[in-house]
Subunit: 253 residues, 2 copies
C-alpha cells in the first residue's frame, strides 16, 4: 500500500501563526520528518514517530520521507515558514524526479505557511508594499556569479530586495558584498531591516540604512530586507514603521 | 481614548488557511473594515460592526479605519492573502503619513497571512523553490515604463517571475506585453501557471508554457507564475507538478 506525503509549513515560529490546515495535517501524520529544531515546534500529537535530521541534508531527508510514504505511512515533512521558499518542497520534488519510480505514485500535497519574509515585513510595517525580489545568498548550490547577476538585476530594477540565507559561519563575506553592490544603486538613507528569529522568543529586529548596515549583524536565522528608492520610514507610537507606498515613479539610477 | 488598528491577512480563501492569530484578532475587533467580498470571509463574531467598501478605494478605506480607531474602537482592516503584499497595509501607512497627526498615536499591528502566491505555488508543487521576483502589472499607480523596466530586469536575471494583478477589464493588454517581453529571454517550453481563486470554491489552475500562454485566460482574480530557466515539470500520480530545483547554474541569455 502506498501512503501519502505532506510537505508542511510551520509558519515563522509563533504557534498562533501556524495554520489550522498545517496543525490538522500534523495531527493526522504517522511519521514526522524534519530538521530537529523545527520538529520541536510540532505540537505533541497522537504518538507519531519523529525523525530528526541535520539541517544540511535536505535531499537525504526528502528520500527518507518518500521511503516511509512508499511503505504506507502518512508522512509529514516540516519546514519553518513556507515549505516552498528555499525549503523542503523543492527537495522532495527533486528526490521524486531522480529517485525510485514508485515514488511518483505517492499522494503528495504541499501545505503553505506564513513565510519568515511575510512575518518580518508585518513586524516592521509594510516594506513589501510594492514589487520585490527574493534572493538566497547561499552559494552552496549555485555559483556566486549567478547571485551577483541577480543582485545586479534586482538593484537596477529598483526592486525591494529580500535576502534569504544572508550569512552563516561557513559563508561570512557574501552579505557584505551583496550590500555593497546594492548600495551602488541606492541612496545611502535607503532603509535596511535585519529581522532575526521573527515571532520567536529571541526575536530581534533592527532598522538601519544601506550606508550604515553592518553585515556582521546577520546570521543563519536572519532575513535582510533592503528598500527600493520609494521605501520610507514613519514614526509611530511605538517606534518607526517602514513601508513602501502603493504608487511608484521611474527613478533613473 | 485612542483605540487600535490591526491590518489582518485572511489567507487565500480556505478557512483552514487563516491563522489562529488572524481569527483571534477579528474576534476581538469592534469594527471590521474591508472590500465586501473579503468581509464576507470574516467569521461571524460578537456583533462587530462591518464597514464594506469598493475595491478601488484603498486609501479612503484606510482613513475610515484610522478614524474609527482614533474614536477608541478596536478596528480590523482585512485583506485577502497577506496584507503587506499589494494590499491594505501599505495604504494604511500612507494614510497615517499624510493624514491627521493624531493617527500616529494609534496602536497599529499587522497580522501576516498566507499569500495567494504561496498558496498557488503549493497547489502546483514548488515553483518558487529558488530566487524569484514579484511584480504587479497594474499601472494605476505607477508608469508602465517602470513595469517594463522591472520585467526586463527580472527576465535578464533569470528569476522566477510572479505577476500580481495581471489583468482586469480596464487593463486588458498588459499581460500580453509582459509575457511577450519575458518570452524573448526564456525557452518556449518554460512553464507558466495561471492560478485563479486559489483554495476558493471556484479555483482553477492551468499549467502551460511561455510559448503557448494565452493572456486572455487571466482576470483580476488570477495570479501568473513564469518559471526560470531551471523550472521543470514532473509527472505525479495526480497530474503534473511544477518545481524549481534548489541548485542553479548561470545561464547566459
Amino acid at each position: 500500500m502506498t501512503g501519502c506525503l505532506a510537505i508542511v509549513g510551520l509558519g515563522p515560529g509563533a504557534p498562533e501563526l501556524m495554520t489550522p490546515l498545517a496543525a490538522e495535517t500534523l495531527r493526522a501524520a504517522t511519521d514526522v520528518v524534519g530538521y530537529a529544531p523545527y520538529l520541536a515546534r510540532v505540537p505533541e500529537g497522537m504518538g507519531q514517530r519523529r525523525h530528526a535530521s541535520d539541517n544540511r541534508e535536505e535531499l537525504a531527508r526528502a528520500r527518507q520521507a518518500l521511503e516511509l510514504a512508499a511503505q504506507g505511512k502518512s508522512v509529514a515533512v516540516v519546514s519553518s515558514g513556507d515549505p516552498g521558499m528555499f525549503a523542503m518542497a523543492s527537495a522532495v520534488f527533486e528526490a521524486i524526479e531522480t529517485g525510485n519510480a514508485a515514488w511518483k505514485d505517492i499522494d503528495i500535497t504541499v501545505v503553505p505557511g506564513v513565510s519568515a519574509m511575510l512575518a518580518a515585513a508585518a513586524r516592521i510595517g509594510a516594506p513589501l508594499g510594492h514589487d520585490f525580489c527574493v534572493i538566497s545568498l547561499s552559494d552552496n548550490l549555485k555559483p556566486w556569479e549567478l547571485v551577483l547577476k541577480r543582485l545586479e538585476a534586482a538593484a537596477a530594477g529598483d526592486f525591494i530586495i529580500v535576502l534569504y540565507n544572508p550569512a552563516s559561519k561557513a559563508r561570512p563575506w557574501q552579505l557584505g558584498e551583496a550590500l555593497g553592490l546594492i548600495a551602488r544603486h541606492r541612496a545611502g538613507a535607503t532603509p535596511v531591516i535585519f529581522a532575526r528569529a521573527v515571532t520567536q522568543a529571541d526575536e530581534s529586529i533592527e532598522i538601519t540604512t544601506i550606508a550604515e548596515a553592518d553585515p556582521a549583524r546577520a546570521d543563519m536565522r536572519t532575513l535582510v530586507i533592503v528598500g527600493s528608492s520609494a521605501t520610507r520610514l514613519i514614526q509611530g507610537s511605538r517606534g518607526p514603521f517602514v513601508y513602501t507606498p502603493r504608487h511608484a515613479e521611474l527613478v533613473e539610477p
